[in-house]
């Protein structure tokens, strides 16, 4: 496990614990509303479309496309400096929702809007694995 100390670790909450448990098992989980059938991300206690409270967890395919991105040249903090330039991107999953992530395992300069990507997981600690994306 590479050293990620000093980075901003997510703190799971009651609503998001199942998502982060999924990440630990290298599964990207989304919520799907039983009432309206729509998917949502980030995890919530109710459906953000219809406020239905019956939400079912599904495993997303992990595939999506880059809808925007930037190469961060000046890192947010010391712990991220070694990674510069790193790609911060918005990825729209094939299931619909959009999430922020890093696009890695490629040269940062090769990333472009519309690029197809798929999820992989980077282990930061025993508890936390971070979903990231790479080109398909």
């Amino acid at each position: 496990m590479a050293n990620h100390s000093g980075k901003i670790f997510p703190t799971p909450t009651r609503e998001t614990a199942h998502y982060w448990e999924g990440c630990r098992e290298h599964k990207l989980r989304l919520q799907c509303c039983v009432s309206c059938g729509k998917h949502q991300f980030y995890p919530r206690s109710v459906c953000s479309h219809c406020l239905g409270d019956q939400l079912r967890w599904i495993e997303a395919s992990g595939a999506g496309k880059v809808i925007s991105f930037t190469l961060v040249r000046r890192a947010v903090s010391e712990a991220y400096k070694a990674d510069t330039p790193y790609v911060v991107a918005l990825v729209q999953l094939d299931e619909g929702p959009t999430m922020m992530s890093n696009v890695e395992r490629c040269t940062p300069e090769s990333v472009e809007i519309g690029m197809r990507v798929t999820a992989f997981f980077e282990e930061w600690s025993e508890e936390i694995s971070i979903p990231k994306f790479c080109p398909i």
Binding site: R73, A75, V76, M100, G114
Partner: protein, 389 residues
Amino acid sequence: MTSLSGKVAIVGAADTEVGILPGVGATQLCVDAACRALSDAGISKDQVDGLVTCNSMAEPYMYHAEAIAEYIQIFPRYCISASAGGGTTFSILHHAASAILTGMCHTVLISMADTLRSGLSREQAMLMQSATGHGQFERPYGPTVPAYYALIAQAHMAQYGTTQEQFAQIAVACRKHAALNPAAQMREPITVEDVINSRLIADPLHLLDCSLVSDGGSAVILTSAERAVDFPHSPVYLLGVGEGHGHEHISQAQSLTTSAAVESGQRAYAMAGLEPKDMDLAQLYDCFTPTVLLELEDLGFCDKGEGGAFVESGAIELGGALPVNTHGGLLSHCHPGNPGSMFALTETVAQLRGVAGERQVDGAAVAMVHAQGGIMSSHTSVILGRETA
């Protein structure tokens, strides 16, 4: 429903010194701004019965407005502080005007100041910056504030063919205006090449596409239109105001290239009974150059996707069809954080009073002042005029 239009006016407006002010505290600057605005309005502190401030990062208080009231020993009936800046500053102006209209209070002092430049260490400033964004679903990926706005810029470039040079043109126009403003922090003229050749921070944003980090304070005094005529300066009337709230986190935005400035603008124009073409100038929130471009489109000054061509034509420079950020904006005048939008307001008052000196827009009678906060999240548009209608 009673409309606010023409019923409330700004009767006092003033800024402190701005820029790099070591040895001056944020509380002290807030009080300084308040005193200057009272003096401009020709009233004593006891005539103020409403107080609005914003919290300071450098010298925060749990109850900031109450702390300022206590500091200058006033005892208002309406007292509130905003925890955020940007569009919130004008939202709270909207609410203060409503408070006057409903009789909650008669004369409101809005004073805001902070010392981001001298009052915080580099580490504190970094920590503050990294606090923007969703703790679980954005921040672990290492985004910076410029990176969030870069996502918007990149999407606009891909969708409409907007170029880095066009974004740069906005920084050039602001600097050109700042060169005419003795108070501005950065007055050395710059070119498009200077912007493009400055260090890349988060592609496509260069250092000179990013606003300043400053110390400074600014204050205005609002009262009813009936009372406003008794003050020494000509009143500047609130003709229209509207808000639009889209999201908090950029990863949850409905659109990256069209913002809730569309709704805030439409609501303000409808209240004022005016259209974009009626505006003699505009002050548009410019934390980063792309925000100005989106706001020009979303507020109807040009068609969607035409923002790049519009700024390239020189329209936003003094002498152009719609001078924008005549004081130099957050890009070149100053940006002390939460109080940032206030300087656009005091500049507009100077323009509408006709006392803006070398940067005066000839015959300025009606102006749009727009601010956004978050990451193109929360928008408020304000239309101000020399006449009530």
